[in-house]
């Protein structure tokens, strides 16, 4: 099946991003995407990651042994024994964004349980980043909840919201407030399209809050599942007065996996900023010496 040719040594790399909702993988040969895959994350992230890696390899016509290095990222990275190194999704998104468009200065990513804003410098290094608080307002999970309450399929939220005819104020402070406001509106017979448009605006304002902390600098790149929602894209463009770049011809959810693959391809160089750095940093833990909190008291 696989090429198994020595000619691929040092040329094929893979990245795997195991997120809270979906697992993504990208395979690079000579810096070009030759395979990718996307699947829901199951109850065992370790298996989900391996399966999506296998799918991406199959799409590229490769086997695991053809790959010089695999980098894992996302929440599932902590249980990815099939990977060679792990890097956070923040760094992977930055790397992926710089790979796609070196002029990217700000990434907005709306994932399943996090939404994040990452500021980049001209070298593609992270200048600053901010993630949502514990509250899920502004994340994919929040949009899922809204679609359930409104009885609208997730993928229909965007197109439907573009038909709204009135602006409504919905709180972006807290998912619980927003939910209760939506239920109040439904109880009063408000139309779903107006409610959804208001929800998109609330999410956009939430993201604007994160952007405020990191700073607004073009070009913007919008990634994650949220970038597939046309209504949300429109709301963000309206709130930010800016246009976005998305990943050309690819699913915007792949950005983290792409960045992981790019980092894997650089992994042969042992310098700061490459996956090897984690080995340098890892030190045995120092035991708590005074153990103030751990000594039993007679």
């Amino acid at each position: 099946m696989g090429l198994h040719t020595p000619a691929l040594a040092g040329r094929a790399f893979a990245g795997v991003d195991v997120g809270s909702q979906s697992a993504k993988s990208v395979v690079l040969i000579d810096g070009r995407i030759t395979g990718h895959a996307l699947a829901p994350t199951g109850p065992k992230p370790e298996e989900s990651g391996y399966e999506v890696l296998t799918s991406a390899l199959a799409a590229a016509g490769l086997e695991r042994s053809d790959i010089t290095q695999v980098v894992a990222t996302g929440y599932g990275r902590v249980s990815a024994p099939w990977s060679d190194a792990t890097v956070t999704e923040i760094t992977c998104h930055a790397t992926g964004a710089h790979f796609i468009n070196p002029r990217t200065r700000t990434i907005i990513d709306i994932g399943g349980q996090d939404c994040k804003v990452i500021g980049l410098d001209e070298d593609g290094h992270i200048r600053d980043f901010a993630l949502n608080d514990k509250c899920a307002a502004g994340t994919g999970r929040f949009m899922e909840l809204m679609s359930r309450i409104l009885g609208v399929r997730l993928e229909d939220l965007g197109p439907l919201s573009l038909t709204a005819d009135e602006q409504i104020a919905i709180s972006s402070t807290c998912i619980v407030f927003a939910e209760s406001e939506v239920i109040s509106l439904l109880a009063r017979g408000e139309t779903p399209q107006n409610i959804i448009a208001a929800v998109h605006h609330a999410v956009a304002r939430r993201i604007a809050g994160l952007l405020h902390r990191v700073g607004l600098e073009q070009d913007f790149l919008f990634s994650g599942g949220g970038a597939k929602n046309t209504g949300l894209v429109a709301a963000l463009q309206q709130v930010l007065h800016a246009d976005f770049v998305t990943i050309p011809d690819r699913d915007p959810q792949l950005l983290g996996a792409l960045g992981a693959a790019v980092l894997a391809s650089r992994g042969t160089r042992a310098e700061r900023g490459t996956p090897q750095r984690s080995a340098r940093r890892r030190r045995p833990l120092q035991a708590s010496v005074v153990q103030l909190a751990k000594e039993p008291v007679a």
Binding site: Q167, I168, S171, C174, G209
Partner: protein, 472 residues
């Protein structure tokens, strides 16, 4: 008479006009506003400029009272709806605008010729700069300001952060952010500080409130007095005038009169066997006792007519419009928010009192001696600003005084200082009076889209009180 139109928009019926005329004009400190002008404003100008205020939807917490026969309520509405024009006129006349805190005193600002505006009035000012807003448009603008403030400062801040957001975003400019801190709110000090890195250039100053029991601490009174003196000299430095102790004493006398009238109104209202007005009118008139609305003289004029009206109603046994035949009497305490009066009335209750807003009117300031020390002494005696044990004792007294059937402690999102003692006060009042008490948090009161949860909780409590009284 109830006033209901198919589209639920408030309109004044012609037959009310003679009543309004009979109650007399509103006397402002610099002019007299005739009843013809009040009528014209409320029936022609204001409905066009501020349609949201005339929306009678059930979800409009700030809707105008439908008790059109109670013409003092109309006058109070006139004060609120004319606020924007009066702020702009004061600004054009060169009076410094000062953002202060709700529930503090006003005398030093007026004495120094400034215009003190609490956060709610900053909101009104910013909203009414936009004409033609419906309820929903008003909500959208209010929400934008709220979220601007939260974005800049924190989502954990209470909703007064919106007023600070208005300043931060440059929507409006004030000359000073100079509140008294009092012992009601822990956000205000931090929110005032937040303006130091703002770009709007307002001068910042805090009049501190010494935390802990001030009785037997002459230095605590002196500290507040010194802070107040610094406030006045700071405003004077901006205006170039010199505010004398006599100026301040005169202002204290004017506000003492205002407070006395508010107490007289409350006493007359409470003495009536049948509640003589609905909850919203009682609340709006009572609040005037500590909300001079840019012109204490005008407020005195409105309170005068309200007292006359409420006494007449009490004597003839008139029941407030929209109240049940035998409403249960609810006392509300907690943060600077209250139970939606329309919800309470609709469920068969009536709000007979609220600690915040009332606490500031129960004591007068000395009209002789050092006026700064007089104000400090008065402020430090306000029951709402005492330690929670003392405050609970006072709150229990108020429930007796108002013949309340139950007590609700309500705190709003972000108000961690009041929420901290919700159980303490509710439990203490219950132990002291045997009344049913409850405490609940409200999320975004004042925004019409989030009322359902609040409504359910308040209605359930009122239903419980009714069942207990055997009137359900």
């Amino acid at each position: 008479m109830p006033l209901t139109t198919p589209d639920r928009v408030f309109r004044l019926p012609e037959h009310v006009k003679p009543r309004l005329d009979a109650s007399g004009p509103i006397v402002f400190s610099d002019r007299v506003v005739s009843t013809d002008e009040i009528w014209r404003f409320l029936t022609e100008e204001a409905p066009l400029r501020f349609p949201y205020a005339f929306d009678l939807s059930g979800n409009n917490i700030a809707r105008i009272s439908e008790d059109v026969e109670f013409v003092s309520g109309l006058k109070a509405a006139y004060l609120t709806l004319s606020l924007y024009d009066r702020i702009e006129a004061a600004r054009a006349a060169g009076r410094p605008i000062v953002m202060i805190q709700g529930g503090q005193h006003f005398e030093p600002y007026f004495a120094a010729g400034a215009v003190p505006l609490r956060p709610a009035y900053i909101y009104v000012w910013a909203r009414n700069a936009n004409e033609g807003l419906g309820l929903r448009g008003s909500d959208v603008i209010g929400n934008d300001h709220l979220e601007a403030g939260r974005r800049r400062i924190s989502v954990d801040a209470c909703h007064q952060v919106g007023a600070h957001g208005i300043l931060h975003e440059g929507v409006l400019r004030v000359d000073f952010v100079a509140p008294n801190l009092a012992l009601r709110c822990s956000d205000m000090a931090y929110l005032t500080e937040s303006h130091r890195s703002g770009t709007h250039g307002a001068e910042l100053l805090l009049v501190d409130y010494p935390i802990g029991d001030a009785v037997d601490k002459p230095w605590a009174y002196q500290y507040v007095a010194d802070n107040l003196r610094r406030l006045v000299t700071t405003i004077d430095a901006r205006t170039g005038r010199r505010t004398t102790d006599d100026d301040l004493r005169a202002e204290i006398a004017r506000h003492n009169r205002l407070r006395r009238l508010a107490r007289e109104f409350q006493d007359a209202w409470q003495a009536a066997p049948i509640p003589p007005t609905n909850s919203i009118d009682r609340q709006n008139i009572s609040l005037l006792g500590n909300e001079p609305s840019l012109d204490p003289t005008a407020v005195i004029s409105v309170l005068d007519s309200a007292i006359t009206e409420v006494k007449a109603r009490a004597a003839s046994g008139v029941r407030g419009h929209g109240l049940a035949a035998d409403p249960v009497r609810l006392f509300v305490c907690g943060s600077c928010v209250t139970a939606d009066p329309n919800v309470v009335d609709g469920a068969g209750g009536v709000v007979v009192g609220k600690d915040d807003g009332w606490s500031e009117t129960v004591t007068d300031a000395a009209e002789d001696g050092d006026p700064y020390l007089g104000l400090a002494t008065q402020t430090l005696s306000w029951p709402y600003e005492q330690g929670s044990q003392a405050r609970a004792v006072w709150t229990a007294e108020q429930t007796r005084r108002t013949r309340s059937d139950g007590l609700l402690f309500i705190y709003q999102w972000g108000c961690n200082f009041q929420s901290a003692v919700a159980r303490l006060i509710a439990d203490s009042v219950k132990a002291e009076t045997g009344l049913p008490t409850a405490y609940l948090s409200s999320s975004e009161l004042g925004k019409s889209e989030s009322l359902e949860q609040h409504r359910t909780r308040v209605e359930a409590f009122v239903e419980m009180l009714r069942a207990r009284k055997g009137v359900l």
